[in-house]
Subunit: 209 residues, 2 copies
């Protein structure tokens, strides 16, 4: 199943399909055609079939997809049939927003540890009850809590140092919101989130359109 | 130049190239090979040449790209040779983080208006000096300030209503951070930002890898 190189865009779309399928489950829809699912996701039906074909055969010809079955299968493909334990590093406005973000917990991402270098914040609790620890407790706390993914929300100039600490813990991957490129050892997975890239997309379409 | 349909991934990569080129400018590098630029961006050199080929001919064979020239050209393609005026709607933790985010202003995105429905916040000033207005002032303030892009940072249940107001202003596009799909009239551009999609990408690679 994992012999083919799967395009990154396919993985992103699988993720979007699960969002649409969750809405269908909420609305008690049990079966969906690829046409309807495609409309909900803003792609064409052939794209959905192509994306799923990388991972096997899904759906029933002339019937469509069983919603619960498909979401179960996609979540398994994405590794979302488990909960992931996250640490937030940097609990400023953005860090607080992420910890409280309902989509994260809904998708099975749980923040189990929080860190900040600001002495005023250390020892305080976030609204979720998480205690904020000093960065020098990172290895100890992350190991104790079984942190798998570190989420960096610190200013750019501290991001690399934080990443180095997270690699040392070791966590398994990093989601980086700091506006800078992070260096990590070969094979260590870092995803960068740059809001302004989305704005560039918008600007391009407003200009070219 | 605009006859071909440009893949969305190309636009996203162009945006990433500008980030790398800005680092080169900061480091006073004047010429860069496609190999070096590719390494900085985590893509292969052929990809860069292919992405740029959609828009014309760039760089000099055997020399590389003139950094300042290339960034100027890419920014022009992306519509970033101008400043964009933004309104933030919803100034909770995330909204405050976005308004203060250094990458936005660096890329020419300026928040010129802010709105929130919370009576306690209305009339207050953000750290940037922006006054928070009530949502019913949206048309008036957005027109007065020349807002082109509305950025929605409100809870999911208010997002569609806010989008409707922004469409009515009218602004030219919406960047939506609320965890819900927004309906907009045909041809009106909405970009959705879903942090958890990035986490799904990470989860997939940690599972499949």
């Amino acid at each position: 199943m994992k012999f083919l190189k799967i395009p990154a865009a396919t993985i992103t779309r699988l993720s979007l399909y699960t969002r649409a399928l969750e809405v269908l489950i909420r609305d008690q829809v049990t079966v969906v055609s690829s046409k309807t699912l495609a409309e909900l996701c803003g792609v064409n039906p052939a794209q959905i079939r192509k994306d799923l074909a990388y991972f096997g055969q899904f759906g029933v010809r002339g019937v469509g997809y069983y919603v619960k079955e498909l979401i179960f299968d996609i979540k398994k493909i994405l590794g979302l049939n488990k909960e992931w334990s996250l640490a937030i590093v940097g609990v400023g406005n953005l860090g607080c927003a992420l910890v409280a973000h309902e989509n994260f917990s809904k998708q099975g991402y749980r923040f189990v540890a929080a860190f900040d270098a600001d002495p005023i914040k250390i020892g305080r609790k976030l609204v979720t009850g998480l205690v904020i620890h000093a960065p020098d407790k990172m290895s100890e706390v992350c190991r104790e809590k079984g942190v798998e993914i570190g989420v960096i929300c610190a200013p750019a100039q501290f991001a690399q140092d934080i990443a180095n600490r997270l690699v040392e813990v070791p966590v398994r991957g990093i989601l980086n919101f700091a506006p800078t490129q992070i260096q990590a050892p070969e094979g260590f997975k870092v995803e960068n989130v740059d809001f302004s890239v989305k704005l560039d997309n918008l600007a391009y379409h407003l200009t070219a359109g």
